[in-house]
């Protein structure tokens, strides 16, 4: 029989907890009171503005501004513009559906059970293929909508996920090439990575959108969105490659020796042993890179794409809603927040899961 001896936990009521964390010294008490008061005041103000005094319906539009709270009517009126950009009104259901499909694709790719060499590419080809077909149309009675007309949130999500999906395998290739035992390949890749990293994203996207068509033959030109996504993916890949390389370096020499001694081929060493550990070891940096990339998608505005940020600007630019820029930006901020916060929570979940179950 084993009897475990557990020391009795000190009884700790809410009062004690409060005292310990907020009122332990008189200075702490002063700070607690001051910050507490400010915080409560801000919460009241914010909820008054955002909810209690807010105007929700376009029918009450005339009350907007005159000392009332937030004028969410602008979102009701211009929400579709923000969400879909210039996408034709009657066809916006396609954009919604396409968006949901991409979100589903992203969601499924996040599940560790989908992480295999066969499943992930299949999922992505199906997910993105459906997105592009739906958005573009031009078959089965769906009117053709060219990528110049794509816009709003669905464009943002598309650019982000396409950059990620193209950029990630590219990053793996760069990282492996940089470790290659052939000096020409290793040095060449290193040079390329350093070169791309030394250029601003804007320059690269501008070159892809405007300069490339001048240089290459027509048949190689592709469309503008495609070129921009590929250029963006290369930019993402050079940063992600350095993260993966750091992860590869952090796996021990013994892993490679064990795999070699077991007669496992090189590709298996890379795919089954090194990369999973490299990704595990660098998960926080990878999530960080994804968050940065998501926020950087707004830069495509400058080369004429109407992603969610630009659509937001258009929504307040029409004259009618010029005064509601705060509401529109708050709404945009919320949209970004949902995605970025979701990404970080996913990262935290994954990290935790790997610590416990080692994924």
């Amino acid at each position: 029989m084993s009897t475990s001896v557990v020391p009795p936990l000190p009884k700790q009521g809410f009062g004690n907890w409060l005292k310990k964390h907020f009122f332990s010294t008189w200075l702490n008490s002063v700070f607690t009171v001051i910050f507490g008061a400010v915080l409560i005041w801000m919460c009241i103000k914010l909820s008054n503005w955002a909810i209690l005094d807010a105007i929700w319906s376009v029918d009450n539009k005339e009350h907007c501004g005159h000392g009332a709270g937030a004028c969410w009517a602008v979102i009701q009126d211009r929400g579709r513009l923000i969400m879909f950009g210039l996408y034709p009104y009657e066809e916006q259901w396609r954009s919604t559906l396409a968006c949901l499909i991409v979100i589903l694709t992203i969601g499924l790719s996040c599940l560790p059970s989908f992480w295999s060499i066969k499943k992930l590419p299949a999922l992505w080809v199906i997910g993105f293929g459906t997105f592009v077909l739906l958005m573009r149309g031009g078959f089965a009675g769906l009117p053709l909508v060219t990528s110049e007309q794509w816009g709003g949130l669905s464009l943002t999500i598309f650019i982000f996920s396409a950059v990620f999906v193209l950029g990630m395998p590219l990053a793996v290739v760069f990282a492996l090439a940089r470790r290659s035992s052939l000096p020409v390949i290793a040095k060449g890749t290193g040079l390329f990575i350093d070169l791309v990293r030394s250029l601003p994203l804007l320059t690269i996207l501008f070159a892809a959108a405007v300069v490339v068509p001048l240089l290459v033959p027509d048949w190689l030109e592709g469309n503008k969105l495609g070129r921009v996504v590929v250029a963006f993916a290369v930019f993402f890949a050079v940063y992600q490659a350095e993260i993966i390389r750091a992860g590869l370096q952090s796996t021990s020499q013994g892993q490679e020796e064990a795999a070699a001694a077991l007669g496992m081929p090189y590709w298996s060493l890379v795919v089954d042993i090194l990369l999973p550990q490299a990704f595990r070891n660098t998960l926080p940096s990878t999530i960080n890179q994804a968050v940065i990339t998501f926020k950087e998608t707004s830069i495509v505005t400058i080369i004429g794409f109407f992603e969610v940020m630009a659509s937001g600007n258009a929504a307040i630019g029409g004259g009618e809603w010029t005064e509601q820029f705060v509401e529109v930006y708050v709404f945009l901020a919320l949209v970004y927040f949902v995605f970025v916060f979701g990404l970080s929570r996913y990262g935290a979940w994954l990290e935790n899961r790997m610590r416990v179950g080692h994924a």
């Binding site: 013994g254 064990a258 795999a259 077991l262 007669g263 089954d272 179950g357 080692h358």
Partner: protein, 245 residues
């Protein structure tokens, strides 16, 4: 039948300017157990690691199971499938379960299908008395258990030769015997074994031959009895006095 599982002739190895193996000559007959000992830095690991090509050699001949791995790198692949190795630091794959650690190499290196590989893996884990840990991850096991898993993982490939590089040096004293016991079983089953170790009890019990290295050279080789009780060289005598204590 081949006589020698491993045959080493005039092998030289350099690390930069350091002459790590100085014209080594050595035969390991099939089914025999060779224990390699010697002071730190004498080249024991280097020698054993040349036997499955983890270290390349500068000159000399090296045949393993009849295949020349000194001049023909293509033979290396074949040799590694027939030569298992157990390391001081286990080198289990930390992101895979114990079972998967044993299954994956079978699939990847000899192309066994998953079902057969799983049966084989469970069989070997059971022989090493670690089958109840099959679903755990390496971090969750003790050193002795990890080393037995590493051994099971190697045995799944049905090797004809096993190489051990100080398999018990990283273990707490109370776990050493559990690993030596399973190795002893293996030696009795007529596996060809080359083992770097300072466990002289083990050498005494199972070795057909004991070899002492110093400074990149083989100083003396003989039966355990000769080496322990009647060493010819001063270096051997000195070394044995130290490890016997």
């Amino acid at each position: 039948m081949l006589d020698n599982a491993i045959s080493v002739k005039s092998v030289n190895k350099y690390y930069g300017a350091h002459h790590a193996l100085k014209g080594i000559n050595l035969d390991v007959p099939q089914g025999q157990t060779l224990v390699v000992c010697g002071p730190s830095g004498s080249g024991k690991s280097t020698l054993i690691r040349t036997m499955n090509g983890l270290e390349s050699i500068a000159s000399g001949q090296l045949e393993v199971l009849g295949l020349d791995i000194a001049d023909d790198a293509r033979n290396l692949e074949a040799v590694r499938k027939k030569v298992g190795m157990v390391f001081q630091n286990f080198n289990l794959f930390p992101h895979l379960t114990i079972l998967e650690n044993c299954v994956l190499p079978q699939i990847r290196s000899v192309g066994r299908d998953r079902a057969a590989a799983t049966v084989e893996a469970m069989d070997q884990l059971k022989k090493m008395h670690v089958d109840i840990h099959a679903e755990k991850y390496p971090d969750q096991l003790s050193g002795g258990q990890k080393q037995r898993v590493a051994l099971a993982r190697a045995l799944c490939l049905k090797p004809e030769v096993m190489l051990f590089d100080e398999p018990t040096s990283a273990l707490d004293p109370e776990m050493i015997s559990e690993v030596l016991d399973v190795m002893q079983e293996l030696a009795k089953e007529n596996m060809t074994i080359v083992c770097v170790t300072h466990e002289m009890g083990f050498a005494q019990a199972v070795a057909d031959s004991v070899l002492l290295m110093a400074d990149g050279e083989i100083v003396e080789q003989g039966t355990p009895d000769q080496m322990f009780n009647n060493p010819q060289h001063a270096v051997t005598r000195q070394f044995m006095d130290v490890v016997k204590k």
